[in-house]
């Protein structure tokens, strides 16, 4: 992922776009309280800024119905004082959460079925757009990467959008690191880190979260060539079907647009092509080794 080293620039510059999960339904029941979480993340951001003068950090909050930019260290008005940074972040977070709660209340009239997952696809898209803007406005070799601090479970309805973002990140050569602060692994982020060449970690001790972040996620892309970072044992590659959004292992694939279905359909809902061949009656899998 490192671009060619050049004498004019430092190799270890990094642009980190961190996606914070601010899903209240998750944080209400999380083992690590949100305030503690902030007390780990904000020093980590300061650490990143300390590592190199040219480093840039951008914080994006992932809410349940919206995402927003919380902090950008490249702003002209950031004073550089860590306390000021901290208070700035917290204030912006408050505003964001307030807006998010208003949006969430407005869209879902049904209050007994709250949204459980956070809008990962939205924040990934925001991050990618920001990085693309940085690429185009001429900043020299920023070496961007995305760090997802995710706790909520994956929403299968976001499968298509998340996969599209992952492929865009892969095309742009932007590694997606994932740090899971929730209880269960996230299949989307495992796939994201695997495909883009990032690091996936689920820390066992959440009270040492800062140490995990500093040891694993703080290094820039150039130095990663010399470091040995934790790799997950396996990747959960399951897809979710396009019709019901359930995760499936075996299903039907449209031969034209490659959309995945769990049941036989006469017509593909994505591209409209018709499947003329009759469905096989038997479901005996033909395992010829």
């Amino acid at each position: 992922m490192a671009s060619a080293p050049s004498k004019l620039y430092q190799d270890d510059v990094s642009l980190v776009v961190a996606l914070l999960d601010t899903n209240p339904f998750f944080w209400a029941g999380a083992s690590l309280p949100f305030s503690e979480f902030l007390h780990h993340v904000i020093p980590f951001i300061n650490t990143l800024l300390l590592l190199n003068q040219l480093n840039r950090v951008v914080l994006i909050a992932t809410g349940t119905s919206s995402c927003g930019y919380i902090f950008d260290s490249g702003d002209g008005n950031s004073s550089g004082n860590s306390n000021a940074v901290c208070s700035g972040i917290i204030k912006k977070l408050e505003d964001f959460v307030g807006k998010d709660s208003k949006i969430t209340k407005g869209s879902n009239g049904d209050s007994t079925r709250p949204a459980i997952s956070s809008l990962l696809s939205g924040s990934l898209s925001l991050a990618l757009c920001y990085i693309q803007r940085i690429f185009r406005c001429g900043a020299r070799h920023p070496q961007p990467r995305i760090l997802c601090l995710q706790g909520s479970p994956d929403g299968p309805e976001q499968y298509v959008a998340v996969m599209n973002s992952i492929f865009s990140a892969q095309r742009l050569m932007i590694p997606i690191d994932s740090c899971i602060v929730g209880a269960q692994h996230s299949a989307f982020l495992q796939q994201a880190s695997y495909i883009t060449g990032g690091v996936y970690l689920k820390p066992q001790q959440l009270d040492g979260l800062f140490q995990f972040l500093a040891a694993v996620f703080a290094t820039d892309l150039h130095s990663r060539n010399f470091l040995r970072l934790p790799k997950p044992a396996g990747v959960d590659f399951r897809a979710s079907c396009f019709c019901h959004k359930k995760t499936i292992d075996m299903g039907y694939v449209c031969s034209v647009c490659l959309s995945i279905f769990c049941k036989y359909h006469k017509k593909c809902s994505t591209c409209g092509s018709e499947f003329n061949q009759a469905a096989p009656d038997s479901t005996i899998p033909d395992q010829k080794h």
């Binding site: 209240p24 339904f25 007390h39 949204a115 929403g155 309805e157 005996i284 080794h289």
Partner: protein
């Protein structure tokens, strides 16, 4: 009943010299009679008591065949043969007999198609070549031999089933017999150069059958002359003398002499004239040429040749004197003709011996070609059609619709909107763990809680220290252990695989089990859907064999040392899964059949 009788030596152990005698084998028993009538080493053993047979490798010091009674201890009757062919024939005989005896009774009636259709209830009579091929394959590939021994000789699979999937291996040999036919040489032999002897005034031409064949192919007029003149009017030698004389005359620049001689001697004239057959051919080709610019033939070909062009054979650029009939072909004409003949290829299989036969064979083949060409009316029609099509000017035509339907991807917004509706409807059915989230919490409460947390963080400010030192230490040690353990497991060398690090014996066993499982699973899955009792029995046998291997795999997994246990279980896991899937399918099929109850008239239906 087939009987074999061979002179051998019988011994009880490999090392002793053995008792010479005669071994007679038939389908039921074998009898050994020592040469020495006084010896007590007579044997009369029924094949029913023989469990298996072992043999030494071809090319080892002794040609041994061991008919074992007890496979564990290896005791049996050892016979030493004088040569390997005897031993091999006995061994094959024994193998067949044992195979028959150990097969399940009643099965031979339902043999699936063997090499030759077997009407008799005996297992299929294979031709000697077939048997030889199989034995050769078995000898060459020890893995195959092991599989064969394990399954066929123990009755799990029959010979035909075993070899049915390996037709490709067996069929290879057949292709070796057809050899490639060499084509014509690229060198222009048809142009014979004489060797001149400096001392006398003689010029010598040497003609080999190869050269003669080329001459016939390249110069059809000569060919025709040969067929007409030899042996009716002149002998072969005379014919060739005349031909060589004509060549010589051509070569010398003496056109006048050539014309004079041609006028005298008719036959010589044939050689000196234009080759009219070639001219005809060229003209015919021109007629066949596609006017839509097919450069296959054009006027510059062969005989219709522009004067003043071309270099003659000996480098001069003389203008051809068209008054005389002496034809002089330019170098390029000769070369082109030779190239055309070479490319056409050699169509004759006749040996180059007798010139006459060669000439006749060539004539026959040419005739066939001609008759084929003349009868192709539709070729002309097709050509005309094509001409008509190609003379259309494309930009003056109306556009034709493509025969396919173009891909249309609907408006993505529609798709996402509909999916949103789907998603909202089915949110309750998500499989991801929702246990950790409190669903009863209403939205207001959740947001309020979050806001409280944020304000708490604001009021408290950042902690000092950020984390406690002992926590940090725990994190570091945990991380380093995790990283070093993966390094230990994966090894320093990235080329090394898990297989290389487990002990050899286990690795061999696992590999063998893998190949056996593949073989069995292939037969298992190909027998479904079960329609005959034969297939049903086969599935039974295969399933039993798979169960045995399953046992063995479990044992391997459990008995492996603790260092390798993890890797071995990782390796064994997919095998067990494949077997489990097969067993599950078998059980479900059994249940379905039991549920349907009673046997259907056509056997077993899915």
């Amino acid at each position: 009943m087939a009987v074999i009788s061979v002179a051998t030596r019988y011994k009880t152990t490999v090392k002793e010299p053995g008792v010479p005698g005669v071994l007679k084998m038939n389908e039921e028993r074998f009898v050994f009679m020592p040469n020495d009538p006084r010896s007590l080493m007579k044997l009369n053993v029924e094949f029913k008591n023989i469990k298996g047979h072992k043999f030494s490798k071809d090319g080892s010091k002794q040609a041994l065949l061991n008919l074992t009674q007890d496979p564990e201890k290896g005791t049996g009757y050892i016979f030493e043969f004088d040569n390997f062919t005897d031993r091999n024939s006995c061994r094959d005989f024994v193998g067949r007999v044992l195979g028959k005896l150990q097969s399940v009774p009643g099965r031979p009636n339902e043999q699936s198609v063997p090499e030759k259709p077997a009407g008799a209830p005996l297992p299929e009579q294979l031709s000697a070549i077939e048997m030889e091929r199989r034995i050769k394959l078995l000898r060459e590939d020890s893995e195959l031999q092991r599989l064969h021994k394990q399954f066929v000789l123990s009755g799990v699979l029959t010979e035909s089933e075993f070899w049915a999937t390996r037709k490709a291996l067996l069929g290879e040999d057949a292709n070796h017999t057809t050899k490639q036919r060499p084509g014509f040489k690229s060198a222009m032999l048809a142009d014979v150069r004489p060797s001149a002897d400096g001392r006398t005034n003689k010029v010598t031409f040497s003609l080999t059958p190869e050269i003669i064949q080329q001459i016939f192919a390249e110069k059809p007029a000569v060919h025709r002359a040969f067929l007409n003149l030899v042996p009716s009017k002149m002998s072969e030698k005379d014919f060739w003398t005349k031909y060589c004389r004509a060549e010589y005359l051509n070569r010398t620049k003496n056109a006048v002499v050539a014309a004079a001689e041609a006028a005298e001697d008719e036959e010589l004239a044939v050689f000196l004239k234009h080759d009219d057959i070639l001219a005809n051919e060229a003209r015919r080709k021109i007629r066949r040429v596609d006017p839509t610019l097919d450069m296959e033939a054009d006027e510059g070909d062969d005989y219709i040749h522009l004067p003043d062009h071309g270099i003659l054979r000996d480098g001069q650029k003389d203008t051809a004197d068209t008054e005389t009939e002496v034809s002089r072909r330019t170098l390029s004409q000769d070369l082109n003709r030779h190239a055309a003949v070479v490319l056409e290829g050699r169509t004759l299989d006749v040996e180059l011996g007798d010139t006459r036969t060669v000439a006749e064979a060539l004539a026959w083949s040419k005739q066939e070609l001609l008759s084929n060409e003349k009868s192709e009316e539709n070729v002309n029609l097709e050509k005309q059609e094509r001409v008509a099509r190609m003379t259309e000017l494309e930009d003056l035509q109306a556009s034709r619709n493509p025969p396919y339907a173009s891909l249309c991807i609907k408006d993505p917004r529609e798709y996402f909107d509909s999916q949103q509706a789907n998603a909202l409807r089915s949110l309750g059915g998500t499989e991801f763990g929702t246990n950790s989230l409190d669903l009863n919490l209403s939205k207001e409460e959740a947001y309020r809680h979050l806001k409280e947390q944020i304000s708490e963080a604001k009021s408290r400010g950042l902690k000092n220290p950020i984390i406690r030192p002992d926590t940090a230490l725990k994190v570091f040690s945990g991380l380093s252990q995790h990283l070093s353990s993966t390094r230990f497991q994966l090894g320093k060398n990235s080329q090394e695989s898990a297989l290389d690090r487990i002990p050899h014996r286990t690795k061999d066993e696992l590999m063998h089990h893998w190949t056996s499982i593949q073989e069995l699973l292939r037969h298992f899955w190909s027998s479904y859907p079960i329609t005959t009792t034969g297939l049903y029995n086969k599935v039974q046998r295969v399933k039993d064999a798979m169960a045995q291997i399953y046992q063995k795999l479990q044992e391997i997994k459990e008995s492996s040392q603790s260092d390798f246990r993890h890797q071995i279980s990782l390796l064994v896991q997919p095998m067990l899964q494949a077997l489990d899937a097969a067993f599950a399918h078998y059980d479900s099929e059994q249940q379905k059949r039991a549920a349907k109850g009673g046997a259907k008239p056509n056997g077993f239906v899915r």
